[in-house]
């Protein structure tokens, strides 16, 4: 019965601080993966039209990697801010799933814990922390583990943004000599790994074609139309796939 090992907390000597360190340590590989994103975000921010302070503030107060990148892309093409906020909402909706998944484990905590833990909830921290919670659901200092992961992630993101901004500042007028290609090429590297099944391929093809067709719609609303069309296409193909299996 090796299964028994999974939920036997080996935490006889655990303290809040040791749990905090364990959370940070277990997040390390994911944090290394986030480093290039943070630096690239900072580098692109200036040429996209954000100020130095604006880019730092975005990393400090929004703290959501993919939404920040998409916001940069939208700022660069002159999108109205309410549309960017709306896009942020849609892109970050997945965090509601994380939040709902973690909720049973954090509900007993006071608000002074719940509020910062919610603010620091990212893809990376969720992946690390949910593993801990499911393995040791009753361990007393799991929230310290969460805090360790979250603070390490947050600090790293601020430092990387700053490094990127500093580098970006040394390359004034980056767009003029083609650094505007850095954003599409980064996004390509982020999209390709999604193409693992037919619904995702349909999403990407339809979103791309509609983006071209709807390009003339003002305020970059064509982008929202294209994204929604892509999502609908993915869901449709997924539905067909299910029916094929049933037949």
């Amino acid at each position: 019965m090796t299964q028994a090992n999974v939920d036997t907390p080996s935490l006889i000597n655990a303290s809040p601080f040791s749990e905090f360190l364990a959370g940070a340590r277990d997040s390390f590989p994911l944090i290394v993966g986030a480093i290039p994103f943070g630096i690239i975000f900072g580098t692109l921010a200036m040429s996209s039209g954000l100020s130095f302070a604006g880019a730092m503030a975005m990393s400090a107060f929004v703290f959501a990697g993919s939404a920040q990148f998409i916001a940069l892309g939208l700022v660069a093409v002159g999108t109205a801010w309410p549309i960017i906020v709306l896009t942020t909402f849609v892109v970050n909706l997945r965090h509601a799933l994380y939040s709902a998944t973690l909720a049973p484990y954090v509900r007993h905590l006071p608000q002074r814990w719940q509020v910062p833990l919610a603010f620091w909830l990212t893809d990376e921290t969720f992946l690390v922390v949910i593993k801990r919670y499911t393995q040791q659901p009753t361990a007393p200092y799991n929230h310290w583990y969460y805090l360790g992961s979250a603070l390490f992630m947050y600090t790293n993101w601020q430092v990387c943004t700053f490094i990127g901004l500093t580098v970006g500042q040394m390359l004034p007028n980056a767009a003029a000599w083609g650094l505007d290609f850095a954003m599409p090429v980064t996004f390509i590297g982020m999209v390709i790994p999604y193409l693992k099944n037919r619904p995702m391929v349909a999403t990407v093809i339809v979103a791309g074609v509609v983006a071209l067709l709807a390009h003339a719609i003002p305020h970059q609303l064509g982008l929202m139309v294209a994204a929604l069309a892509g999502i609908a296409a993915g869901l449709l193909v997924q539905q067909w796939g299910k029916q094929e299996i049933l037949v």
Binding site: L50, I70, P82, L93, F181, V185, I188
Partner: protein
């Protein structure tokens, strides 16, 4: 572009999403259909940004010719990403091809 409104708005919606479920979880079920749809959001949004940027670099007309360095760089980046699954390598090679192509044809 009002940066203050933009960042404040993004910060508020992001926090509300992350915090809301701590408050309401257990009181209602997330519709399965919405769950599935959310999975398609990142590739759909990213693609809708990439395709016009690559195929309409001047912002007006579609340029499918081999002299379009954005297109050539994008195709190479997609191939590298597909074969290596390495983001950093994709960016570095994609940028190098883009600059090289621009220099060669420009």
């Amino acid at each position: 572009m009002n940066e203050l409104y933009l960042i404040a708005g993004m910060a508020v919606v992001t926090f509300v999403i992350r915090y809301s479920m701590f408050v309401v979880a257990g009181r209602f079920e997330f519709p399965a259909r919405l769950n599935e749809a959310l999975g398609y959001v990142p590739p759909a949004v990213l693609t809708a940004i990439i395709v016009p940027a690559v195929l309409m670099p001047n912002g007006e007309s579609i340029d499918l010719s081999w002299t379009n360095a954005y297109l050539v760089g994008a195709v190479v980046a997609a191939v590298i990403s597909w074969t290596s699954k390495n983001l950093l390598l994709t960016i570095v090679v994609g940028m190098a091809v883009f600059f090289g192509w621009q220099w060669l044809v420009g």
